[in-house]
Symmetry: C2
Subunit: 474 residues, 2 copies
């Protein structure tokens, strides 16, 4: 028998699914404040009633550990996290809803109406190579603010970091060849597609098929054609000619709708008839034995004079398949990677956490706190991550230290917000992508390898270990 864990709240909106009532399921700015777990709101109300809503707390947003196939992660999503914090508020629509729910007291709803994020954020910049479990973000704010933002920050940072990290692996496997994000149709909803395009670009893809990602973020977009386009025409040649005539640039033709080699021959014929100044950019193969086909297609293209035409592969690719194809000598110049990239197929989640690490006591003194329950020990106190480099400039180890320690090396967390306002100018997306590239290629090979990567050394500072011992003892 199904027993509710507590009485279900009144269902506020019957779902009126006549024509008027069909719901899109979009997140709008006005309802962003409701995109949260219920407990964030009930805890906030409890903090307010207990008169401790203003007491300062510090939370770490961290990743607990690497998925077992990952040697490193690439951070992404900070821009969206900061945009959320900058614009955080409960709009009248949201307040009305909370009031109608009957579960929140008028004083709390009034309080929410004027609530803004007034705290501090320090964060590891986007495009940084990161190793758990140090903090990716550190938030210091009145407890009620710091708590209520948890859900949105976690989903925003975790997803993009996961996808940027996956993209870095795929790009590494492609060994200098182009990788394009083809994932929008298989990502976890339309917004996931938009965020995946951004994160994939940070991770090293040259662009995406997602038009909105160009409009929103300026990410280069690429496109080819679908099998349906070929099938809708009398034959492949007519389809190719019509497409080439209309295409706003050098076209890429999809050649595997019927017979890939024959498709390549037709593509070469169409290329030969292109007007002066235009060329066949690429052909795409989406099925079959990509190793054999790519070599045969290359020969057909070369024989037809299409030496500059690239051969692009797609069709459920990932870093493992791409590495295998290239190791065997596939004549491929680029890859459209969809499902496995945009869902991080072999590891579709990260063990992200948002933990209280310090709070003011009744006298306003900041006090580090620790959670000691089984196998999930948190790192107490405000912290910084320091990275050491060896003589060749390669990262040689990270130390998670207390924030007030002075150490050698490079501190990873940088100030982003103070008193709720941005204090750093945010880098352009291209700059973030270049940082990720430079840091990735600077990693030791054994950390970058796709399978069974070596473990990068991350240690606590002596002072942090002393603090942990002291808090455990207590």
């Amino acid at each position: 028998m199904v027993s509710p864990l507590h009485a279900a709240p009144t269902v506020l909106h019957g779902v009126h699914c006549g024509e008027v009532g069909l719901r899109h399921g979009l997140i709008t700015l006005e309802r962003m404040g409701l995109s949260t777990d219920l407990y964030e709101l009930t805890m906030a109300q409890a903090f307010l009633e207990a008169g401790i809503a203003d007491r300062t707390a510090t939370f770490d947003l961290s990743i607990r550990s690497l998925p077992h196939t990952r040697g490193y992660l690439v951070t992404a999503g900070l821009e969206q996290a900061l945009a959320y914090l900058r614009d955080f508020r409960c709009w009248p629509e949201a307040l009305d809803y909370l009031e109608r729910s009957g579960h929140f007291k008028p004083e709390f709803i009034d309080f929410l109406g004027s609530l803004r994020f007034t705290g501090s954020v320090d964060a590891v910049p986007e495009g940084t190579v990161y190793f758990p479990p140090g903090p990716l973000l550190r938030i210091t704010a009145p407890i009620i603010e710091a708590q209520i933002i948890e859900t949105y920050l976690l989903t925003t940072i975790t997803y993009q970091t996961m996808i940027a990290s996956k993209a870095a692996r795929v790009v590494d496997a492609a060994d200098g060849r182009a990788v394009i994000d083809f994932s929008p149709r298989r990502d976890h909803g339309p917004q996931a597609g938009l965020l995946a395009a951004r994160a994939a670009y940070v991770g090293g893809c040259i662009g995406t098929s997602n038009v909105l990602a160009n409009e929103r973020f300026g990410i280069p977009i690429y496109g080819t054609m679908a099998h349906s386009f070929v099938m809708f025409h009398r034959d492949e040649e007519e389809a190719f000619r019509k497409f080439a005539a209309s295409y706003p640039g050098d076209p890429t033709l999809l050649i595997d709708t019927f017979d890939t080699i024959e498709g390549a021959r037709i593509a070469a014929r169409v290329a030969a008839d292109l007007p002066e100044g235009r060329k066949l950019a690429a052909v795409r193969i989406d099925s079959g034995d990509l190793l054999t086909l790519s070599g045969a297609v290359r020969e057909v293209l070369d024989a037809g004079g299409c030496h500059d035409t690239q051969v692009l592969a797609s069709g459920d690719l990932d870093e493992y398949k791409i590495e295998g194809l290239l190791r065997e000598g596939a004549a491929l110049d680029g890859f459209g990677v969809g499902t496995q990239l945009g869902t991080s197929g072999d590891s579709p989640s990260l063990s992200s956490t948002y933990k209280l690490v310090a709070c003011d006591d009744a006298d306003g003194r900041e006090t580090p706190v620790i959670k000691l329950s089984a196998a999930k020990i948190s790192l107490p106190g405000r912290k910084q991550i320091w990275r050491d480099y060896d003589a060749d400039g390669q990262p040689a180890g990270d130390t998670v230290a207390l924030a007030d320690e002075q150490r050698d090396g490079t501190p990873l967390l940088e100030p982003c917000m103070r008193d709720g306002a941005l204090v750093a100018s945010m880098p352009e997306l291209g700059e973030i992508r270049e940082r990720a590239r430079a840091q990735r290629v600077g990693l030791p090979d054994e950390i970058r390898r796709l399978s069974e990567p070596a473990q990068y050394p991350v240690a606590n500072s002596q002072k942090l270990d002393d603090l942990i011992a002291q808090l455990r003892h207590r």
Copy 2:
């Protein structure tokens, strides 16, 4: 060397990431039309230029095959797909962007400005038990409309169907106990969290922690408390008392912040002091050996007179862990399931496709078409899925037939839109959920089992097989 596959289009928006420029990455109604793959637009332009934009085409949205751990799928997401089709248009913001891109001709942009979806949709209703590879949706519309909607339809239907299907397994494993979606923080972005809550409810969860899912869809919401709430107070008892005093209903207390058994004792003490008419709804255990702890906690609660207080588990659970815990006799009454539910962790994608199956020839006669390339054969023509039932009312097999065949059994696809307008009143979400439940429990056990499920029989009708043979021969 990275070589673009075709010249990257001008980057339209430099990303101005000063305070003003921080971008949220939300999908708004005004920009929904740009949430698509570039090739949908370039193909559309080619159709228009070729003068065949109005020619009618039929596409199937299908799932190619079941993930190997799944015996069946539960359909979801149709409401959002239909809302998209109903409201499809390119708003001035989107048209301005496309114009500035320089890649589309003025006539095409004008055409897009007045483009609406004017076609027909037949679909398997939400909450239906579905077996690949028959059509989930069948779209008949002028080719340019039918093509351009591909990306959004695929991501919308695929994600929710995947999550509803995962939820059904988790709910089955819980064997009558409550399952709540706790996934918002680990889903693939905020919108994924909202859609996951909806799909999880369709699949049988009793509700979600996602507040927005209550506001948008009327889904019951549940919440407990976070470790940070306990850690922020002087001790567990103070935290529990403050929380219980403020909570708008019977509270659930999280008891594993320090020592789970001691936490249960404190919770029972706090319960004993609750005012008349209120009780401790549940305690939640989020870590440790859930089998041993749940039994010990149950004893503590019973000894303290909390016989009605439920024991809820959370912490990286999935259907396999839940089944194992219950088989061993864990004293658990409900489960909060997050990451693995909202990402469909063991199978985070479905092999969904959107294939042209028929199109009008130059004389306006509908002609079935087929794609024959390696290992990816499409089913040609307008089709219907017919379900047979055995004497006990259990589904006994599906037949994928041509739409004009009359057969025994129950047809699964129902008319949804004609001439771009809804023609069926959409069911309430509760009705969809009940349909999914009834169909799920009506399945043979061997189809429902969590590992190595038996294969449900799906066959083509003789007429469909004849058509395939005829088209292959041609």
